[in-house]
Subunit: 347 residues, 2 copies
């Protein structure tokens, strides 16, 4: 199986995408891997497997690697003799945050007719923006945590009771997120969140809420991961976050009732169906009074949540064989031909 791991991007999560890619290199042992780095300036580079170390990027050494150009049909290397197409196989979009999760990379790959694992453009926009995720979930009858939205220009009166959690609508990995325990702390937390986005989401902070993650994808059928009970510390420092994105060991299935497990699986399928085909996503659920609430959709989870699957590499292979295809649109100029004949051949 030929897989090209695409990572980096012009994103606050650029660095953890590098960590994710290094991790997947270890996990996808049987595959023929290529590595495409998108640097901060959105230039693409083909990285040798032996150079897949974080300092190759942080030191700027990657700039000596071959530059890639994306065109119809695939990535190319510019050479003395024109553009030379590279046959890198299916692209696995591993760019976390902006570019990767906001629909841009999906658009580039779709437009250029390259097979790829990633949420498509619709699914990206709806999951990257936490407000749109709520609207989408509610339209499916999936319950969400109550919320309100503040615009950067709005007043700062909020109606929810403290403590609340403040999140920029469009970022992942807890960037810009604060827990606010009283009115005095609100202004500072909003300033922080508005550093990263023009809109912020405000939700009640539910102390000790039960939190579970469910990952999965749809190949010929749904393939769901075990249920994970994530780390509940309020904040992960860089060392812990690093561990979180470089995980490749297995975790154990969370201790939940069969009813709750089924409810989460059914909710996952409802959220995934129709728009997330072609991607491996993770849904983060809250359980309140026995009810499953969708907290967030992680459209490109850290190291693709590989550690939650029994046979991650096998699943990636099956997904490669069941990627959605855009419908073909036949353009035969019948409309222009009709106008031309109605006008006596001149148009």
């Amino acid at each position: 199986m030929n897989i090209a791991i695409l990572f980096g991007g012009s994103s606050y999560e650029h660095e953890i995408s590098i960590v994710s890619a290094i991790t997947l290199k270890k996990v996808l042992k049987k595959s023929n891997l290529s590595f495409i780095f998108c640097d901060a300036n959105r230039e693409f580079y083909l990285i040798d497997a032996k150079n897949m170390k974080s300092n190759h990027f942080s030191d700027g050494a990657y700039k000596k690697d071959k530059k890639l150009l994306l065109k119809k049909g695939g990535f190319c290397i510019e050479s003395m003799f024109g553009l030379k197409e590279q046959n890198l196989g299916t692209v696995l979009n591993l760019i976390h945050g902006r570019d990767g999760e906001d629909g841009k990379i999906a658009s580039l790959l779709e437009f250029n007719d390259i097979a790829y694992i990633s949420p498509r453009v619709d699914a990206s926009v709806l999951s990257y923006n936490k407000l749109y995720t709520k609207l989408y979930a509610q339209s499916l009858g999936v319950k969400v945590v109550p919320y309100s939205v503040l615009n950067v220009g709005d007043g700062r009166d909020i109606e929810l009771e403290y403590p609340v959690i403040i999140k920029p609508v469009r970022l992942g990995s807890s960037i810009g997120v604060s827990i606010v325990k009283s009115k005095e702390e609100l202004d500072y937390a909003l300033d922080v969140a508005f550093e990263f986005d023009t809109h912020v989401l405000i939700e009640p902070f539910i102390e000790g809420v039960l939190e579970y993650n469910q990952a999965g994808c749809k190949t010929s059928e749904f393939e769901l991961s075990i249920v994970e009970e994530p780390n509940k510390e309020e904040f992960l420092d860089f060392e812990k976050k690093y561990l979180d994105f470089s995980r490749d060991g297995k975790v154990s299935d969370a201790d939940v009732t069969i009813e709750l497990k089924t409810a989460m699986q059914e909710t996952f399928k409802k959220v995934y169906a129709n728009i997330f085909e072609g991607s491996i996503i993770r849904c983060d659920f809250f359980v309140v009074d026995g009810e499953v609430l969708l907290n967030e959709i992680n459209p490109i989870p850290g190291s693709m949540a590989n550690y939650l699957f029994e046979d991650f590499e096998g699943m990636v292979g099956r997904l490669v064989n069941s990627l959605p295809k855009e419908p073909t649109i036949k353009i035969d100029y019948s409309y222009i031909h009709s106008i031309q004949s109605a006008k006596g051949g001149k148009a």
Copy 2:
């Protein structure tokens, strides 16, 4: 003012995009125009102004024109001496339907750092899909026509009373749309709609509903068009559609009360604000019992609805000077550097 009109696309509306582009050539008289054609195969061509006639495309003559390649910073021509960047100015995205309105073209231009007039990727996804438009409008407190959604795999029982209107969720220009007067006609209409999409929207068909269009954009302030009362015929045949997309004459302001006009303008601004910056859109409103309902957002209206504006070309110029810019994200590898120093320099 340098403007590159981008038209065509892999879209059911490919041909009317050509008509739109030919029309804008006549309308933007004082500008320095270039024409970029995206053919059915998604290859870009630089078209000479003198070749901007419909048969140049329908006959395939455009294939002899210079091929363009999109890369970081702009469109290029591939030559013996490598890639030669073309300085074509601000791109005006005039691709109707797929590619142009679904977020792909916006993504390509944004990613490659090219100034462009078009809805950005979020705004595209929310307006291209009529279901998402409803969710978005409702989240703003904007009223919409009641609706239900059918998935291609679902049963075909509908709860609304006849007559109903059936629309594929993701197409414009009335493609795949039917008015269904009784249960007997439902199956055929659904078959037609499902030819074009996996999801269809069903709405009550409100006989004789008051219908108005309001176009506009935001430059240093909102610039709104006159209000148009559109053609109310049930279906436009190709000749009438052609006229509709090639309009460059002025129409007269609809005869509405100042209160209704204000209500439509305020609704337009609410819908536009924050996500449609950089684009000229048209909102199609219904008025029922004096209340303004958003029917559809047309993110790239035919010939940019130029005929609704007093000074269209001047407005385009002002828009070119107030395009939104993506925030800069500084990537300094501080996170990887911290890990490296924690690990004693190895990572």
